[in-house]
């Protein structure tokens, strides 16, 4: 447990180092972003000071880390707004989008995955797994465009993009705005999730303990529910962490399709405008969330699977 926590902290450190190095590769002086809007020399000097690009690299990195520890992500070059506040505001779009999509994907993928494995010899079992083949070959943005075509243009059920200017103060409007984006991510995510559930279920079906349980007189359903699901869930949960994280980061594209004011569009805008503090802030927060999700998935896995728990105890 402690060891896992240490790894988390270490990963975060390595990630921020990687981020730092990558961002220093951005061409030109970061203060250039200000130049473009007609800045005078003092402002440029101020920008250099703010970014610290006049300091030696090692000192820059220490400052960067120090600011992070104080949750200070700096201020945007373009708007002058604090990056942290902007990220918090945009998480109000991206987090609900991610979690709703994730939940929907689970609701779709788990039952279908189990059915397609248990009934692999039936036509519908085969159909489900064939359709999921398509699911992993489709770019998420195209799914979004197709959904817009069907649900926003042909039957005008949902808006084709945008988010209410009053945000969650208009909860129904906000939910309507998220409907298609959520569906988009969920469709693509459930396709790959389904394949894991199916593979895991097939493993369970071929396992000794299930055979033993049935030999001992348990019905198939009983045996499967009592032993199968718990065992089959373990590898799936380790995937869930990655899935959730990639759904979160996949929002970059989906937010563009539906012009949602989330973290992804902030990142894209930051890259296009070379708004260095914004890019840095978004990437750091994303990394943090991805690692936290991985950590949570790991813990859940341990809770479910006693073997891992014991191993962990021995290890630590």
């Amino acid at each position: 447990m402690l060891r896992r926590l240490a790894i988390l902290v270490l990963s975060l450190f390595i990630a921020s180092l990687v981020l730092f190095v990558l961002l220093r590769l951005l061409p030109g002086d970061p203060a250039n972003a200000l130049l473009s809007v007609g800045a005078d020399p003092q402002q440029i000097e101020a920008a250099r000071e703010q970014v610290g690009s006049n300091l030696p690299l090692s000192e820059q990195f220490l400052r960067f880390l120090g600011n992070l520890l104080r949750f200070d992500l700096g201020t945007s070059f373009i708007s002058g707004a604090p990056v942290g506040a902007e990220i918090a505001a945009r998480l109000a779009v991206t987090l609900p989008l991610t979690f709703l999509a994730f939940a929907l994907a689970l609701i779709i993928a788990v039952p279908l995955g189990i059915v397609s494995a248990v009934k692999a010899d039936r036509w519908y079992g085969a159909l489900i797994s064939t359709v999921s083949q398509f699911g992993i070959a489709i770019p998420v943005f195209w799914v979004g465009i197709l959904l817009v075509l069907v649900f926003a243009i042909n039957i005008r059920l949902f808006p084709s993009g945008g988010f209410p200017s009053r945000g969650w103060h208009a909860p129904l409007e906000a939910l309507r705005a998220l409907a298609l984006p959520v569906l988009t991510i969920a469709i693509v995510m459930s396709a790959s999730l389904l394949r894991y559930v199916r593979a895991s279920t097939l493993d369970v079906l071929g396992s000794d303990y299930l055979r033993t349980a049935r030999a001992l007189g348990a019905g198939f359903t009983e045996a499967f529910v009592r032993h199968g699901i718990r065992n089959g869930a373990v590898p799936v949960i380790s995937i869930l962490g990655i899935e959730l994280a990639s759904a979160f980061l996949g929002a970059v594209v989906v937010e563009r399709v539906f012009t949602l004011p989330g973290l992804g569009s902030m990142l894209l805008l930051g890259i296009q405008q070379r708004d260095y503090p914004n890019v840095q802030g978004v990437l750091f927060v994303s990394t943090l969330l991805v690692l936290l999700v991985g950590f949570a998935a790991d813990l859940t896995q341990r809770l479910i699977d006693p073997r891992l728990r014991d191993k962990a105890r021995v290890a630590s």
């Binding site: 130049l35 473009s36 373009i78 084709s160 945008g162 988010f163 200017s165 012009t259 070379r274």
Partner: protein
């Protein structure tokens, strides 16, 4: 009109790819553009209606001399603040807080008489001191107003009594009343105008939620005609699709601009909406760097202009909307003339001109193309058109920031695409240091002397001549004039439809149930 040294960012609309926040730019060089109000006024309307306006241009702050951006002019001009003059729908400069003015024979002294019994929102009466203070605010050292240089001829302002203001000039300035339309008259006792206001307009500021809405409530002590609605709320969006959707879903009543004809399709044949086309001042242009070979050669520039089928291009981008003007001057500027015939589409003549210029085998150049609509598609069209006359175009896609650094500041380019939004902006061709580097002494002199002209006729004559010369020189290729389209719900009327993106007079808007 000496605004040739306007700061960066004042002349192009950085509208953006979807999702990119449009940088609000301080509007410069406004014009006497007409504001024709939507024709069919509702017969019966709710006098206390709340009007929701959708816009892409949220102000950075509430003071137009503090770099607030074009959004503050949209929300506040003639709604919250009034000037001595205003630009009207008839295309004229109309007196508002000035009832009368006299100009001395040498053109160097203007005497304004103020309207009596005008009250600020705070209750203070309007006095000549307020006007003096307001003008000096714009010309003062702290002012970031892009109008500052236009008002530079002002040498002194006096307030002999409460209702008289005398403005003395160091040189003639024929555009003074026009330039004064951009000077808000504020209470000289007002504090903190970046977050509050104290004007004389028909509305007062109710509240401003940053990043979302700005609401204006009817001011009961207004001196003039009572607005036809009770409250106006500007709803701000960061991209065009979200804006369109807000109108579709009924979240707003009217939107101040549409970005493509295809977005129009969802409104056009729908009886729930009214689509109005107004007059625009936004021009798409292919700007050469006139300093570098081979664009120093007039024949090459003219050849390129003739090789591009602008009518087909306009149709590709805007379908049935938009206009061709053949120059930089839109029909709403007084010095407009139709110059489409100067370099009409004619590939054969283009090839002949290229041969005369010594480029019979063509040449190649790099076209720096901003990465947002419509520039990339325009660039592809130009590439294919010029290929037919032997010119190879390399499209180099750049971001808005790169455009400012590389092209606007460093002049490091061969040719580029850009949209210019301002009115009366032919003056840019009188500045040889401008990014496109057009340097014709005759044009420089015409533009300079037009401002010190004794009469408006003389000013118009000089600028019309300058307009003809730049067209003959093919200083740039003026591809087309954007359409200006305003869309509202069918039960809303009385809003301005013209392309002054810096002004949106709300007091005449009517909403029926």
């Amino acid at each position: 009109m000496t605004g040739t040294n306007a700061p960066a960012g004042t002349f192009v609309r950085k509208s953006s790819p979807r999702g990119l926040r449009a940088f609000a730019t301080t509007a410069a060089f406004a014009t006497a553009i007409s504001l024709s109000f939507a024709a069919h006024a509702a017969d019966s309307y709710d006098p206390d209606a709340i009007i929701n306006v959708g816009s892409l241009y949220e102000p950075q702050n509430l003071d137009n001399i503090a770099g607030a951006g074009q959004g503050i002019n949209e929300a506040f001009n003639s709604n919250v603040y009034e000037g001595l003059f205003r630009l009207t729908d008839a295309g004229n400069v109309e007196q508002v807080l000035a009832t009368d003015y006299k100009v001395s024979d040498d053109g160097l002294t203007y005497t304004f008489t103020l309207k009596p019994d005008v009250k600020f929102h705070s209750g203070d009466p309007l006095t000549a001191q307020d006007v003096k203070y307001s003008i000096e605010r714009v010309t003062g050292p702290d002012s970031k107003s892009s109008r500052k240089s236009s008002l530079a001829p002002i040498s002194a302002i006096e307030a002999p009594d409460d209702h008289t203001v005398v403005v003395r000039l160091s040189s003639r300035s024929i555009s003074l009343p026009y330039n004064l339309t951009y000077v808000w008259i504020v209470n000289d006792a007002a504090q903190n105008l970046t977050a509050g206001e104290d004007g004389t307009g028909p509305y007062k500021l109710e509240n401003w939620r940053r990043g979302s809405t700005l609401s204006l409530k009817r001011f009961d002590g207004y001196w003039g005609e009572k607005p036809t609605n009770g409250e106006v709320i500007f709803n701000y969006f960061t991209d065009a699709t979200a804006l369109d959707n807000a109108l579709l879903t009924g979240a707003v009543d009217v939107i101040t601009g549409i970005q493509s004809p295809d977005a129009l399709a969802q409104f056009k044949d729908n009886p729930e909406f009214t689509v109005s086309e107004g007059k625009s001042t936004t021009k798409e242009l292919l700007a050469f760097n006139d300093r570098v070979e081979p664009f120093t050669n007039v024949k090459v520039r003219k050849a390129i202009s003739r090789a591009i089928d602008k009518k087909k291009l306009l149709n590709s981008i805007w379908g049935e909307y938009g206009t061709l003007i053949g120059s930089f001057v839109p029909p709403t500027d007084p010095w407009y003339v139709d110059l489409n015939a100067v370099d009409p589409y004619n590939p054969d003549s283009a090839r002949a001109l290229l041969a005369e210029a010594g480029f019979a085998d063509g040449f190649s150049f790099t076209l720096d193309t901003p990465n947002y609509d419509p520039h990339p598609i325009v660039a592809q069209f130009i590439k294919s058109e010029l290929a037919k006359v032997g010119i190879t175009v390399n499209i180099n896609v750049i971001t808005a920031n790169e455009w400012y650094n590389k092209i606007y500041k460093a002049h490091d380019f061969q040719a580029t695409l850009q949209e210019h939004v301002n009115h009366r902006d032919i003056v840019f061709y009188g500045n040889p240091d401008f990014y496109w580097g057009y340097d014709n002494p005759k044009v420089i002199d015409l533009i300079k002397s037009s401002e010190t002209a004794k009469t408006e006729e003389e000013q118009v004559a000089k600028l019309t001549e300058a307009n003809r010369i730049i067209a003959d020189d093919a200083a740039s290729v003026w591809l087309y004039l954007y359409p200006q389209i305003v869309i509202s719900k069918a039960n809303v009327s009385g809003y301005p439809v013209n392309g002054l993106n810096s002004q949106f007079f709300a007091y005449g808007i009517k909403k029926s149930d």
